[in-house]
């Protein structure tokens, strides 16, 4: 036999400890990236192992797996095409977790999510609702559908910045008293606030001072214009689906003055939305609100684009409104 000297790296090769083959491996194509590390030698796999070379066992089919971690004992007996870039063995899945997952875990630690709620993580939030469980007296506990969004306390003021644009009101905050939006600028006559809304029965309309003072039903209004802004009667929260608060400059130049729009709750919590000075095309969206399981979720839009009022409404999905002209709804 001839000894080749042109392949010195082969001297470093080692043989992995033999692993017993699972009795009946489930073959399922899994994109779970967390399952892969060290689990590639025993199973037919499409992943690529870059760790120390392994001589394939006759009992184990050749592997084309990609494993960037140190070899470790296999955890999942299923075929996996996942990619784990972590530096340790994959965590043992909790009981009941299917071996073939679809997670895209790239790190072992839970990423810190900013309170503003703008994380792009595909993982469930740390305050994810618990799975239904069974209570001691027999009936099934329903999951807590906490939205996991930033909340606000009574009396607290909160600037709604681009980094923290979202606030979730509790069911009580969402249902008690009213939501009052007011403009705070040096010359309040230079801007008016309006609301476009959709009710629970899918009616869309607007409240705009001087044009439509209240809606949707003048006899029992939910939304109304006030002397310095607009207000929402939260006693009717169950009749509200969504809304957009917008600003309309009154100058002929359609220039918005700089300042702040405040939104206060019954408990005197105050949300502050910046009003950026500058030219507009007629209207500027400021804040959106959606009712999610009885909770009002508010988001400062910080929209860089303005438009005619008709364009703003259409851009935010209010297309069931008729218009006299691009600036004047038919209400």
């Amino acid at each position: 036999m001839t000894i080749r000297t042109d392949l010195p790296y082969l001297r470093a090769r080692s043989l992995r400890a033999a692993q017993p083959a699972p009795p009946a491996p489930a073959v399922s194509p899994s994109p779970d990236l967390a399952d892969v590390a060290g689990s590639v030698a025993e199973q037919p796999s499409a992943s690529l192992d870059l760790s120390a070379p392994v001589v394939p066992s006759p009992a184990q089919p050749p592997s084309a797996s990609l494993d960037l971690s140190a070899p470790s004992a296999p955890a999942a007996p299923a075929v996996s095409a996942s990619l784990d870039l972590g530096d340790s063995a994959p965590p043992t899945p909790p009981a009941g977790t299917p071996p073939a997952g679809t997670s895209l875990t790239l790190f072992d630690e839970t990423p810190a999510t900013p309170p503003g709620g703008t994380s792009l993580s595909l993982d469930a939030p740390s305050q994810a609702p618990a799975a239904p469980s069974r209570s001691p007296h027999g009936h099934t506990r329903t999951a807590d559908h906490g939205l996991g969004l930033p909340t606000i306390n009574a009396g607290e003021r909160r600037p709604m910045t681009e980094n923290e644009p979202v606030v979730e009101l509790t069911r009580m905050q969402s249902a008690a008293g009213g939501l009052d939006a007011k403009v705070a600028v040096s010359n309040p006559s230079e801007v008016i606030l309006g609301l476009v809304f959709e009710t629970g029965d899918s009616r869309e309309s607007l409240v705009l001072p001087g044009l439509s003072q209240q809606g949707p039903d003048p006899r029992r209004p939910i939304f109304r214009a006030t002397t310095s802004g607009v207000a929402v009667n939260l006693r009717r929260i169950t009749d509200i689906h969504r809304l957009v608060l917008f600003a309309v400059p009154t100058r002929p130049s359609k220039q918005l003055p700089g300042g702040t729009v405040t939104v206060t709750t019954y408990g005197e919590s105050r949300l502050e939305i910046p009003l950026v000075a500058g030219p507009t095309l007629g209207a500027q969206a400021l804040l959106t609100g959606y009712v999610v399981e009885g909770r009002l979720v508010l988001r400062a839009e910080h929209d860089p684009y303005s438009g005619t009022l008709q364009q703003i409404c259409a851009a935010y999905g209010y297309r069931e409104i008729s218009w006299r002209d691009p600036y004047t709804p038919l209400v």
């Binding site: 009936h139 969402s174 249902a175 006693r235 169950t238 019954y266």
Partner: protein
């Protein structure tokens, strides 16, 4: 004939409605018929632990949270006018399904925007609360009833009564405790934040 209680009275539900496992809490009132803003009365319940406070926000069952204690308590929805026959608002309670750590179920009635409209319970007529068997609703011999009468005047919220555990059974107590500060003043004393 259903048992009629006076203020402060209490009775075992097993005696008032033998065999009842699913109770209906019915509340009724007649709105003012003179000119002025319409009345909108709301019924709600608080599920209290043995410390006299709610365990969390979800223990306040009202028009914006119709289900409590994993479905053991179900608010049947809002009647905005008080018009029509029978109960104006109803809340169903599956007595056997209520969590063991819930010791009291306090029933509250309140007037929406009472201050703004200058309204109070003195202007509400024929207000009552009754408890009856959901599985035998037409049996007039079962159940318990408490008529508010003229007890309330300037109050804008009212604790009508409460279901409470006593030993191994549920009892009902007629309370009629009024509050001038509306619903907020009631619920805050039980550990809830309004805003």
């Amino acid at each position: 004939m259903a048992v009629s209680l006076s203020k402060g009275g209490n009775i075992s539900l097993e005696k008032a409605a033998p065999g009842m496992t699913n109770a209906v809490i019915g509340l009724g009132w007649d709105p003012r018929t003179t000119d002025g803003a319409p009345f909108d009365l709301d019924a709600s319940v608080l599920l209290l632990a043995d410390n006299g406070r709610v365990r969390g926000d979800s223990d306040f069952v009202f028009y914006n949270n119709l289900t409590g204690d994993n479905g053991a308590v179900q608010h049947q929805g809002d009647n905005r006018t008080g018009e029509g026959e029978g109960d104006d608002e109803q809340i169903n309670v599956s007595l056997a399904q209520v969590s063991p750590d819930v010791q009291r179920i306090v029933v509250v009635a309140s007037i929406d925007q009472a201050d703004a409209r200058g309204q109070n319970f003195g202007q509400v007529a024929d207000a009552y609360i009754r408890i009856y068997d959901a599985d035998d609703p037409h049996n007039s011999t079962k159940g318990v009833r408490f008529d508010l009468g003229e007890d309330a005047s300037t109050e804008t919220a009212l604790i009508f009564g409460e279901l409470y555990r006593n030993g191994g059974e549920w009892k009902f107590r007629a309370i009629a405790q009024g509050y001038a500060g509306g619903l907020a003043s009631v619920i805050t004393q039980f550990g809830l934040q309004v805003g």
